[in-house]
Symmetry: C2
C-alpha cells in the first residue's frame, strides 16, 4: 500500500482524524495489540548493551566509537553477529548502512523498518543509538524464538555515522551529495574513505535513493537525551517531531587596541558586545512561551591576549524548535537586538547562516500506535519534541515515521555519564515490539 | 653622586619638594636650559624612521620585526651604524642590549642613559620604540655635530625584546632568572638562543646586575600608545609612572550538555555566566574614579561546538593602575561578584593569578625637568600614567627615571595603523634633548 493509504488507515485506526475511513477502528487496533504474545527478553538487551560498550571503551568511563574508526568496525561486526542470531539476513547497502531482513507472510505488503545507530560522539555514552539498535534486534529475535511471522517483511537497520550528521540515513534517501564525501569525519577519514572502510561503495551512492511508498513505516527507539521524562516520573516519550535547527556564524567587529593605554570610555570592545549578545540570546529565546531552545556554544576573541582589547569575536547562534517559523522569527529578533547592542559601543554584528534544517513531524497515526502500545504495557507517556536530530528525520521524508523515547538519567547525553536504567531500556523495547506488532496487524 | 643626592638636587632644582636644599633652585634650572643650543635635526629622525621601517615591513602596512628574527638582526645592524655615525662607541652587553657610549668632561659623574627599543609585536607599527631610539641617537649626533661635550658620560641604549616582556632591561637589572631562558619568544627561538643570535652571551647573564648609583638618570621618549594627548590637543606627556599589571586566568565551570535536549531553565551554561562576568568586570572597574583599566581579552568555551551548552569557559582578567592597592581591591571585588554570578546558574568561578607587576613611579624631579623642557620649547604638557609597560619600569629600580610621551594618532598602537605625526616626533626629540642637557647641567 502506498504511504497515503497507510497513514489514513493508521489515523482511522486510532480515531485521530475524521477521514471517513470506516474500514478500521478502535476495535481493530485492540485486535492488533491482542495479537502480541509475551514480552521480549529484556535481560538479553542489557547484556548486549554491556558487551557492545567494550568496543571503544574509555578507561575513564563511556565510549569513543566514532564512525569509521576501528572500534566502529568492531562494533558493527559484533552487532551483525546478533542480527544473524536473530534470524535476519544481513546486508550492507552502498552507503554502509547495515540491514537485517526477514520476509513477511504477505508478499504484497511493504516492509516495516526499525533501528537506530551504534556510532558515538568522542567521549560519548553507551545508550545513545545502542538502545534502539539492540532492542530492534531483540524484537526480531523474539519473534523468531516465538515462531511468529509478521505479515509485512521486517527490516532492522543500523544507520552509519549518525553522530557525524545522520550520514547513513541522508544517503539512504538520496540527500548526501557527492561533494560531501570529501568532508572529514571525527575518525580522520573522509566520508568517502569511511564508507569504503565499513563495506559500502561511495562510487555508487547516486544509485541510492529510496522514495515514498517503499516502506510501510519506520520506528526508532532512542534515549530521550533530555531530562523531561525523568523529571516528570514518566516511562515513555511519544515523539511529536524532531526540531528544526538553525545555525549561524556570528562575527562581532570592534577595534582591537592596547588594554593598558585605552581608557575604558574609549573602547570598541568586541567581547563586551559579545557578552551582551549572549545574554540577549537567552532573553529573546525565552521571551515566547514554548519549548524552543537557543544556544551560544562557541566563542573566541581575537587577537585573544589578556592585554589586548578584543577587536573581533567569532561566536555562534543556534535555535531549535518544532516550528520553522518560530526559528526564523527568533533568529531575526536576535539579529535586530544585536544591531542595537553594536550601536552602543561602536561594534558591528554579522550573521551568516550555516545550516537550517526543517522540522520533521512524526506521523500522527504512528504516534497514536506508540501511545497505545505504551498504555497497553501499563506505562505512562508524554508527547514531546525531540530536541536532538535523528535518522528518523530523514526517514520521515519517505515513510510514516515514529520515535519512542525512554528516560535519560539527569537528562545527560553525549557524555560518559549518559545512563538509562535497565528497566527503562526494557520498557522501551517492549513498546517498540508492541508498536511493530500493531503496525503489522493494521 | 648616589641616587638620593641626585633626586634631591632635581627636586630642589624645580622647587617640587621642600627638602631644604639651597644649592640649586629655579635660577640654576633656567641656566641649565639656557645652556641648550639650537634644536636637533628633526627631518633626519623621520628619515631614519622610514629607513628602519624597511626591516620586517609587511606588504599590507606596518612591520613585523619580532625580537631575535632575521629582521630584528638587520634592524639592529642598521641602528648600530647610526650609533657609530653619532660618534658613540658601540657595544653589546651579555643580554644583547646595544649601547652607544661617549665620555663626559667630568670623570666623577655617573652616566646619563637614554634610549628605547626597536623590536616590534607581530603586525605592529613603526613608532613604538623606534621613535625613542632614533631620537636618542639624534640627540647624541646633534651634540657631536655642535661640538658639545656633556659633563656626564652619555649612553644611548637599544633594549632587546621589549615586546616579549622587557627582556633586555629586566636582564640589565638582574631580574631575568636562568629558567626564563627556556621560554620561547615570538620568533620561535628560546630567549637563550635569541640572546646568542643577537650577539649576547646567555651563559653570563648572572654577571649582569646593574644597581642603584651606577646611573645619574634614565630617560625614555616613547609614543603614548593611548589617545589622551591627541584628544586633548596636547604636545607632550610627562609620565607620572608606569602602571602595575595584574593578570588572572579565570575558569568558569558549569555543565556541558546537549543544546537540543536541555530546556533553557535546566542549564548550567558556563558561557552565560562568563557573559555576565565580562560585563561585571567593566562595571566594577569603572565604579571608582580614576584612570584604572580592566580588560577581558581572551575567552574560549569548551567543548566549543554550536550545538553543545558550554560546560567550561576559560577566560582572563587584567587590571592596571598606578596604585597597587587599587589593583588588588578591584580584583578582589571582581572575584566576589563572580561568585554571586556563579550562584545564579550553578556555575563556579576560579581565579589564578598569573602575573602581578608593581607600579613603577617616575622620579618627580625628572618629571619636573621634562615639563620645564617642554614648556621651554613652547609645547603644551599633561601629566599622565603609562598604561603600557616599558623598559623604564626596570630602570626606575636603579636610577631616577623619566618618560616623555608624544601623541599617537587615534590612540592606536601595536597595529599597522600606529602613527605619530612627524612634527610630534620632532617635538618629542627636542624635549628629550633639552631634558638630557638640563639633567647634565644639574
Amino acid at each position: 500500500m502506498n504511504r497515503r493509504d497507510f497513514s489514513l488507515r493508521l489515523a482511522g485506526a486510532v480515531g485521530a482524524l475524521s477521514v471517513g475511513n470506516s474500514r478500521l477502528g478502535a476495535a481493530q487496533l485492540r485486535h492488533a495489540f491482542q495479537a502480541n504474545g509475551p514480552a521480549l527478553n529484556g535481560d538479553r538487551i542489557n547484556q548486549h548493551l554491556t558487551a557492545l560498550s567494550e568496543f571503544g571503551k574509555n578507561p575513564y568511563g563511556g565510549v569513543s566509537r566514532v564512525a569509521y574508526s576501528e572500534f566502529d568496525r568492531q562494533g558493527r561486526e559484533y552487532v551483525m553477529g546478533l542480527v544473524r542470531e536473530a534470524g535476519l539476513e544481513v546486508s550492507i547497502d552502498v552507503a554502509g548502512n547495515i540491514f537485517g531482513k526477514r520476509a513477511g507472510s504477505n508478499p504484497a505488503l511493504k516492509p516495516l523498518l526499525f533501528g537506530s545507530h551504534i556510532d558515538s560522539v568522542p567521549d560519548g555514552g553507551n545508550y545513545d543509538g545502542d538502545v534502539g539498535v539492540l532492542s530492534s534486534i531483540e524484537v526480531a529475535r523474539s519473534l523468531k524464538e516465538r515462531g511468529l511471522t509478521t505479515r509485512h517483511p521486517i527490516e532492522v537497520v543500523i544507520w552509519q555515522n549518525e553522530e557525524g550528521g545522520t550520514i547513513g540515513s541522508r544517503a539512504f534517501v538520496g540527500h548526501l551529495p557527492d561533494k560531501d564525501l570529501d568532508l572529514v569525519a571525527k575518525s580522520g577519514k573522509t566520508l568517502r574513505d569511511g564508507i569504503k572502510f565499513i563495506g559500502g561503495d561511495p562510487t555508487k551512492l547516486s544509485t541510492l535513493k529510496h522514495v515514498k511508498g517503499e516502506y510501510a513505516a519506520y520506528v526508532e527507539l532512542h534515549i530521550e537525551q533530555g531530562g523531561t521524562l525523568e523529571a516528570e516520573g514518566l516511562n515513555i516519550g511519544v515523539v511529536e517531531g524532531i526540531v528544526g535547527i538553525g545555525w549561524w556564524d556570528v562575527t562581532v567587529d570592534g577595534f582591537g587596541n592596547h588594554a593598558g593605554t585605552t581608557p575604558m570610555d574609549k573602547r570598541r570592545d568586541a567581547l563586551m558586545a559579545a557578552a551582551k549578545y549572549i545574554q540577549m540570546v537567552n532573553r529573546v529565546v525565552t521571551s515566547e512561551p514554548g519549548r524552543q531552545v537557543g544556544t551560544v556554544g562557541r566563542i573566541q576573541a581575537f587577537p585573544g591576549a589578556p592585554n589586548v582589547i578584543p577587536g573581533q569575536v567569532q561566536t555562534t547562534l543556534e535555535v531549535r524548535d518544532l516550528d520553522q517559523a518560530k526559528i526564523v522569527r527568533l533568529a531575526r529578533k536576535v539579529m535586530e537586538e544585536a544591531t542595537k547592542i553594536g550601536a552602543e559601543n561602536g561594534t558591528t554584528f554579522t550573521f551568516k547562516e550555516t545550516y537550517l534544517s526543517t522540522p520533521a513531524i512524526m506521523d500522527s497515526g504512528v504516534q497514536k500506535v506508540i501511545e497505545t502500545a505504551a498504555r497497553g504495557s501499563g506505562l505512562t507517556t508524554k508527547y514531546l519534541p525531540s530536541g536532538a536530530g535523528h535518522d528518523a528525520q530523514y526517514m520521515a521524508q519517505i515513510a510514516p515515521t515514529g520515535m519512542i523515547f525512554c528516560p535519560s538519567v539527569g537528562g545527560i547525553s553525549h557524555s560518559p555519564k549518559e545512563f538509562t536504567k535497565p528497566q527503562d531500556v526494557v520498557n522501551g523495547a517492549n513498546v517498540l515490539m508492541r508498536t511493530v506488532m500493531a503496525l503489522d496487524a493494521l
